[in-house]
Symmetry: C2
Subunit: 509 residues, 2 copies
């Protein structure tokens, strides 16, 4: 497209038109509308659009070239000189309006971007090196063959093929009496949580949440307008009796829970509490938002069916995601639940972003239809089983004197109590300097008021050698304290990068 210039030729009548044109182009360069390297219109085009003689434009261009603002490239045209320093991210004018101060401070999710050189000991990040990019690409290409349909306005509830596959998955793997008509495909579970809260609370309402819990969910609920009340966690999972006491005092719209592998503790909600919770929700008429984010990765004992499997009273909204199986960047999650709730969430979804990526949804449904999804889950299950073994060995060997934990029966992480002599926050910072990342317990508490002596370590993203390396760095990064000596740090390659390459010395502890 030929570039468009917004030129203001007004000025003192005494000033020749050429000078005014020169001045207006310089102003455009100064305010950043014409960036270094930007092409200018041809003199013919500009003279026509401004209604001035072409010679005026040619004279102005010559003058600007002489002043160094413009340069010509033979047979290509006239450009803003690349020698002009780019107006480095000109801040632009400040926003004239006061921004909404009623918005709550956002905690944002605990999982930020991880640098490729870092070793994240984080549970929620699948290993993308195993991501079946070739298969997805093939399926995407096949989907694009029906591009006319897929790139049009489509079904806000999600493409019917993907909804059918996901419903079958919930029936076959989780025992849920699922049906595609009661399933909404969302942009990751994050969108499902936001929509659920917005549909349930209207303009205000109370949502009970687990603490320790998942701050990104809290953000979604708060932005939807909810007041949050934390409910404690113990070895049996959510303390349902505390929830029952709250429900007597306050009208609850919902409780948010992660009963399979509680986030962040990975504790499984006990059988009696499951029944108690379902009964309480039916009696007090609130919805259980059940986030079953990594259902597939349960390693010991029989599978534990979700609360949704036993939902006879329309109390459970079951939320899941493909982020943990495939990749977080796919942004495909889902919610399954009572029809009226799904309908309302679908209507809201159409308002906030209309619809998902139909082409991607069709490509993913092909992968599920062809069994590639199941095969990938099995591959990852095998890989994670092996990593889990090494992970617990390392945890015991390197940190056995510093942390206590109960090996969870599932999930991709462990929640550990750290010896009081260790400053967990400082430990995490020292590890991060050495490019190993783990999560401090306090980030899973409201206002960080709690979890000071806890840490969360995950193993999903690292292979066995990387897990070994990361734990050596963790050991090395322990802050000095009464109980430890400083000799650990002498003569050892400190960087995880080095360890990753296998050039770190073995550290005897």
């Amino acid at each position: 497209m030929s570039p468009q210039l917004a030129l203001d030729l007004s000025g003192p009548a005494a000033l020749p038109l050429t000078k005014r044109l020169v001045g207006s182009i310089v102003r455009e360069i100064q305010r950043g509308a014409l960036a270094p390297g930007a092409e200018l219109p041809s003199s013919r085009e500009l003279s026509r659009s401004l209604g001035v003689h072409r010679n005026t434009v040619l004279a102005a261009y010559r003058e600007l070239i002489a002043q160094g603002y413009l340069e010509t490239v033979k047979a290509r045209g006239t450009f803003v000189s690349r020698k002009i320093p780019a107006s480095e991210a000109s801040p632009g004018p400040s926003c004239v309006a006061p921004l909404a101060i009623e918005l709550p401070p956002l905690a944002l999710g605990p999982v930020g971007r991880v640098h490729p050189e870092e070793l994240p000991l984080l549970g929620g990040l699948p290993d993308l090196r195993q991501f079946p990019a070739a298969e997805l690409h093939r399926a995407y290409r096949a989907a694009l063959r029906s591009a006319h349909e897929l790139f049009d306005y489509g079904d806000a509830q999600g493409h019917i093929r993907l909804r059918k596959e996901l419903a079958a998955h919930l029936r076959n793997q989780r025992g849920v009496a699922a049906h595609e008509s009661r399933l909404l495909v969302t942009r990751g579970s994050q969108q499902a949580l936001f929509l659920a809260a917005r549909a349930l609370i209207g303009k205000r309402g109370v949502i009970a949440v687990e603490q320790a819990g998942y701050p990104a969910a809290w953000d979604a609920f708060r932005v939807a307008g909810a007041e949050l009340v934390p409910i404690p966690i113990d070895k049996g999972g959510l303390v349902v009796s505390a929830l029952a006491r709250l429900a007597k005092r306050r009208k609850l719209a919902a409780v948010y829970t992660t009963p399979h592998h509680q986030y962040p503790t990975t504790v499984t909600l006990s059988g009696p509490r499951r029944l108690e919770l379902l009964e309480l929700a039916a009696r007090e008429r609130f919805v259980i938002v059940e986030d079953d984010y990594d259902h597939e990765f349960h390693f010991e004992g029989n599978p534990v069916f979700p609360l949704a499997q036993k939902d006879e009273h329309g109390v459970v909204l079951h939320v899941g995601t493909l982020s943990k199986v495939f990749a977080p960047g796919l942004r495909v999650g889902y919610a399954h639940g009572p029809r009226e709730l799904i309908e309302r969430m679908t209507a809201l979804r159409a308002v906030v972003d209309r619809q998902g990526d139909a082409a991607l949804e069709v490509a993913l449904s092909s992968l599920m239809e062809e069994g590639e999804f199941g095969a990938h889950v099995r591959r990852m299950f095998r890989a994670y089983t092996a990593r889990r073994k090494v992970f617990f060995e390392c945890l015991e060997r390197e940190l056995g004197d510093v942390v206590e934990y109960e090996p969870a029966r599932g999930g991709l992480a462990v929640w550990a109590r750290v010896a009081p002599r260790v400053d967990v926050q400082r430990w995490a910072l020292r590890a991060r300097e050495r490019k190993v990342i783990f999560q401090v317990g306090s980030q899973f508490f409201f206002d960080r008021a709690g979890g000071d002596h806890h840490a969360r370590f995950g193993y999903a993203r690292l292979n066995e050698a990387e897990i070994e390396a990361a734990f050596r760095v963790l050991r090395l990064s322990l802050p000095k304290s009464r109980g430890s000596s400083s000799c650990h740090e002498a003569g050892v390659d400190r960087s995880a990068r080095g360890a990753r390459k296998g050039i770190a010395k073995k550290v005897d502890l």
Copy 2:
């Protein structure tokens, strides 16, 4: 993955285990958790997971096969019989919780799904037959080569490459002093509007909107919590003096406007009102949300620069979309504006759906870098120019005695006054029966209180022959009234489909 069954073997102790197992499987089939065709676990797996003898499972399976619930497929396994009628979208239990009654009724957008056989005379739908699917596919494949990065958690503000391209586009084509640091990539302009409102109003606030206007935007603002106040439109666009009067009485958070080709009237906001509006916003400290949804398609006169081009006071949030150029299903839009506002919108975006599709964003930035975007705009501009000519000819020839309008200088539609003798609503229904779709004026008014004698016709999606056919159907569909005779309807193939194939007779009017 081997299927998981949620079986409840409890029951009278006197009942043999086999009977209880049979009963529990039948219950799973009845409640829809086991669908026709679903695979059952092997007898070995099930006996192990239930902790019962394998012979018990074998006996139960034999009994269920005899009763017709199950069937075996040789060398494949045991399945729920396909002869069982699928529990047709079992409604499931009703939602236990009262759904938020404070939610406003949703208008939803005027553009629904269009059936392939229909001829939509709608302005907002680009012709997807011209969609460069092959180019997008090639770019997507190239993007997937760096899948590890792109499918990870990424930048909620949008991939930096696409932000740079879009900022350059705004500089080169719209004269805006744009910078990638002040640009947010969104899921279509719809998400940008929702995020803007949520960032600007906090929990409550007033947004002024154009009327006639864009109901999908109203929905986004209402779901964000805004109170809406309509401002009228005349031949000069938004009546800024009315907005000024409102601003004296109420504190405004924002005004939503479509100054380039006003939606739905396609009127361009006059020069003096532009200056007046910018000045008013700076004085009263509210934000102008400028939706420049089809900037590229301006056919007569010089380009009109957006309000953002003149924004010296941080009052304009400029919103755009690739939906109108490429395809609505791509779901890629953007917002550019004051830094603090973009930062706040980005933080909110991370909460409601985390991030966009990085692979798609990279693929689109490739298309822009390579000039394919510009080439596509030029192709579509040429195509629409030709269609526009036929469109206005048809409008004059077929409906010249029924509608009045001013040919807009841009946009892909026309807003027409319809003769009072014609019932527009009835006309639209009769046309729809014949598979031609146009929009009645009232749908662009609050509570449909207005626009009774207006209609909106667009031409973007139809080629010249289809436009001709659609207008013949419009003529035929005119409800009988004093001014028309019924002879139009005699002996003419009524379906647009027929007309599309060129087999309809020429209708003499």
